[in-house]
């Protein structure tokens, strides 16, 4: 299991979808699901592997989205360059917030709170400062050229976001196998024990925050290019902080495929809920919340871990019977 092969198979399988399915509705659904998966993959590095639960990953998503949009609209920067800068900006924000939070020794509830507060501050600031377009938001010009990173066909956008997800899968895989990853999970499991073994916990968490910020920012960059619009509620709103956390937790935090599985399942459930009730707002999120609680309560290792969990339970039950019989 532990090699690139599963990643290659999954990505290849997803890559052929636009060749088989031409419905824009389906493609649009998948593009959004993959974008959320990408945001969740970012969260998964810090939260899933590092155990630092951020409730404000919008700080990265929003920064990526705004940087990509503003650089193009206000400064005439090339779209590709703006996209790359947006990702880098996410990493920089990760350094700043991480340095402040981890230096201060914030963990658990406190870390969740401070990330939430940063997102909220950025949201309010973005809703009043002129450079972000304040309350109106920023609109990107429609310009369907490769050089402008805009495409007529949804399929190309789909392959773009899939490529980003694939890169994030590989990054996750590399982290999982590396020394950095071993140290990161050690910090998650027991920070004092890790420090005793020579792990610089602050540096490790900071590293995770940077990678995490860059990946989630990439999702934000993509948002701007795809929807050609961003405002403070989209960029720094609670919705993306929640979805970035929901997908890895539901799919399986601290696993390579968790965020991807979680995003597809969560988005499908959400769409299902909306279909059943005819687009009534709120119901999809009600479903998300219930699934989140249910997964935390019943399948702590997420959907990806469910099989192992059930297998273990079955073995225990069998062993119980055997010892009784």
């Amino acid at each position: 299991m532990r090699s690139f092969v599963p990643i290659a198979i999954v990505v290849a399988a997803l890559a052929v979808v636009p060749l088989l399915v031409h419905s824009n509705v389906v493609l649009n659904f998948l593009v959004v699901a993959l974008m959320i998966a990408l945001a969740g993959q970012g969260w998964n590095i810090l939260g899933g592997y590092g155990g630092q639960y951020s409730f404000g990953h919008a700080i990265f998503f929003g920064t990526g989205a705004y940087v990509t949009a503003i650089l193009q609209v206000k400064f005439g920067v090339n779209a590709w360059l703006a996209f790359g800068t947006g990702i880098a900006a996410g990493a920089v924000v990760g350094v700043v917030v991480g340095w402040l939070a981890f230096r201060a020794g914030l963990r658990g509830s406190y870390f969740a709170l401070v990330t939430l507060a940063f997102a909220e501050v950025l949201r309010i600031l973005a809703s009043v400062t002129p450079i972000t377009g304040a309350g109106v938001g920023t609109l990107l010009k429609l310009d369907l050229r490769f050089a402008a990173l805009q495409f007529e066909s949804r399929a190309v956008f789909y392959w773009l976001i899939l490529a980003l997800v694939a890169v994030a899968l590989i990054v996750t895989y590399a982290v999982e196998r590396s020394r950095f990853g071993a140290w990161l999970t050690a910090v998650r499991e027991n920070e004092d024990a890790a420090r005793a073994l020579g792990v610089d916990a602050v540096a490790v968490k900071l590293g995770a925050m940077v990678i995490s910020g860059a990946i989630t920012a990439a999702a934000g960059c993509f948002y701007s290019q795809y929807f050609l619009f961003v405002d403070s509620h989209i960029a720094y709103g609670a919705w993306i902080s929640v979805e970035a956390l929901l997908t890895p937790i539901i799919g399986g935090a601290g696993t390579i495929f968790g965020p991807l599985v979680g995003a597809l399942v969560v988005k499908a459930l959400g769409e299902g809920a909306l279909l059943v009730t005819g687009q009534a707002p709120g119901l999809d999120l009600v479903v998300f919340g219930i699934v989140l609680i249910a997964v935390v309560g019943l399948a702590p290792r997420g959907l990806v871990g469910l099989r192992a969990q059930l297998a273990a339970r079955w073995r225990r039950a069998r062993a119980g019977e055997a010892s009784r019989g």
Partner: protein, 248 residues
């Protein structure tokens, strides 16, 4: 006397109004086993936290291999070669034994394969080879103590601080692990151990410090310390030495 690897001089630590450790000086001689004993609450674990960088001394200095390392953070001291175990064991509960030990091995081995190989070697040395793939939280008390030791050993330390690794073990488990500790000393690791099990202290340690209420009250060979009236009083209360002397 061999050269000192660790020299603690006049180290103190307060918790609010409580002086947990007061002006303690001690030496761990290179390649030897030194024991730190004393009644409950004497400040032994606090002493370890001060040496290993988990607490900063309010006063005094810690020197390691000739360098002044006072107040350095724990991870940097680990890199220098100081490893500690915790009295209350601190496994990475969600990981397997192999992954637990691997974390320590990564301090000296950047690569995954090298770290895993080193982890397996350490597991063999402490007798955990058969449990490499068991989840850490499924281990027995004795297993957890061994794992605690293995994680510290995997960092390839020069100085090993053992905080009551024998506590909670039954006599046969203690008999099994004593040769392991002696083996470590024999391959050149300097050991400073906190221990309540006197039988182990007598058989392992070359030098003993006795700590009571944050101060060193006696020091010497195990035999000297064991019959020191001051020590007996510290353990058993005022007048105990006399009562014992009168006893037939």
């Amino acid at each position: 006397m061999a050269e000192a690897l660790l020299t603690v001089e006049g180290v103190s630590r307060r918790f609010g109004g409580l002086l947990a450790v007061g002006a303690v000086s001690l030496i761990a001689a290179e390649g030897r086993i030194t024991a730190l004993i004393g009644p409950n609450g004497a400040g032994k674990t606090t002493m370890f936290a001060l040496i290993s960088g988990f607490l900063k001394p309010s006063d005094g200095s810690v020197r390691f291999g000739g360098d002044n390392v006072t107040g350095e953070p724990a991870h940097r001291l680990a890199r220098r070669g100081i490893a500690r175990t915790f009295q209350i064991v601190q496994p990475f509960a969600g990981l397997t034994v192999r992954e637990n030990i691997r974390v320590g091995a990564h301090l000296r081995h950047a690569g995954r394969a090298a770290a895993l190989a080193a982890a397996e070697a350490v597991a063999r040395e402490v007798g955990l080879a058969g449990l490499l793939d068991a989840p850490a939280d499924s281990l027995t008390v004795a297993g957890r103590k061994r794992l605690e030791l293995a994680k510290a050993l995997a960092t390839e330390p020069k100085l090993l601080l053992l905080d009551e690794v024998l506590a909670g073990l039954n006599p046969s488990e203690i008999r099994d692990i004593i040769p392991v500790i002696r083996g470590l000393r024999d391959r050149g690791i300097t050991i400073l151990m906190i221990e309540h099990v006197m039988q182990a202290v007598m058989s392992l340690a070359e030098h003993v410090y006795v700590l009571a209420e944050g101060r060193i009250i006696a020091t010497g060979t195990p035999a000297e310390v064991a019959c020191d009236p001051v020590v007996i009083e510290a353990y058993l209360g005022h007048g105990a030495a006399k009562r014992l002397a009168r006893a037939p």
